[in-house]
Amino acid sequence: MAFLVKFTASLLAILVLAWFALRLGLGRDARIRDKEHAQLLADEVVYGFEALKTAVDKFGRAALLQDAAGRVILVKLHGAQFSGRLLGPEAEALIWNDQGERELLVSSGEWLFGKASLNIADPDDWAKAVKAAKEPAHA
């Protein structure tokens, strides 16, 4: 019984704290600022990754980077932080229309990682690059 009381009180405290963080507006306004920022983020995904070509979403929600070997990294907003993946054979890219604007929807193939929508200048080229990208075989 005592445990149930403690558990319920803790659960309520958790919900109140999360609600408070939401009310304070914490964790907003994170954006990929520019190509240099995207490069820094890609370097965190694959140490030493040097992009030859970079496309940053108009709204800073995501970025695609390609290196000399043809490898492609997707970096996307994750809450107030960023997360990325080296795209492999499971990756998918498709172009769709969002209120008259062509956007590139990229998926790493990892269900929980989610998809990223990019409003970029040359979505067709990047769709091809994503399809061609082959991650080195993993154990």
């Binding site: 445990f3 403690k6 558990f7 803790s10 659960l11 405290a13 958790i14 704290l17 999360a18 609600w19 408070f20 963080a21 939401l22 304070l24 507006g25 914490l26 964790g27 907003r28 306004d29 994170a30 965190e44 140490y47 030493g48 996307k76 994750h78 809450g79 107030a80 932080q81 997360s83 990325g84 993946r85 990892e110 929980l112 990682f113 989610g114 080195p136 075989a137 993993h138 154990a139």
Partner: protein, 321 residues
Amino acid sequence: MPEFSPIDFAVPAFVLLVLIEMIWARRKRQGAYEPRDTLTSLAFGLGSSVTGLLTGGAVLVLSLWLYQFRLFDFGAEWWMVWWLWPLCFVLDDLGYYWFHRCAHRVRWFWASHVNHHSSQHYNYSTALRQSWTSFFALSFIFRIPLTLLGFHPAMILFVGAFNLIYQFWIHTEAIGRMPRWFEAVMNTPSHHRVHHATNPLYLDRNYAGTFIVWDRMFGTFQAETDSERIRYGIVRQLGTFNLLWAVFHEWVGIAQDVWRAPWRHKLSYVWRPPGWTHDGSRDTSDMLRAQWLERQAPAALETSEKSVPNENSIAVKEKPA
């Protein structure tokens, strides 16, 4: 010995400190908190207390059974021997250091401990992101030597709780550096920020619980430098707030790797460091640090040639520890 759980009394203070830190974040650093991340961290804490309750009894029974084989006997009223308490605290902290080091260097233990590192934020809610699977990972074995030495399991649990409480306040970016003497002996927010960082320079450093002296003694200390912007989390960030995935992802990874690996390499995916692969397709923290040093060396050498001849090529890049 009276029944007393220090953590029960500490929880209200934890909640209050989280609230205060959120207000600090609102004023100084809005990105220090993210509501979904906070919710995940706190749910981790709650789940951990449930699994702790479910498995704690088994650990206690085992410890009490082992206690009969103790090396030293401090008498029936062991709790009245005052000096045993601080001695037990210090030795338990030493044991914690080795547990923590193994938790980062052996993938089996890491699969449980990674829970605590899975947030990309570093705040008081992160401190509550505790493992659900530590019993399954057999983390309790690191406290067995103290029992065999003669410390009563109740005393070990008691000082261990205080150790855990101490570690709460160091999970923050709101506190810069403590006075020099304090930084020299105790684990602090600055030292522990380094521990939670994924920067190659900082990977697998500062394992201390309460006393940072263990890291200094065993060669795993790294001071926080102003030149390195800290990135928190794990090398391959989860990219999701899904609680169950955050809890079990490394166990799933081990199972997948063991399943796919050739027979002679299967066990290595359990006991070798996280990131180890038989074909070198992933990097361990040692490999990442080596790559980082390799990249730093030419730049540092260039700097030293221009400014301070004959100075260490790595050291010139960083501020002194």
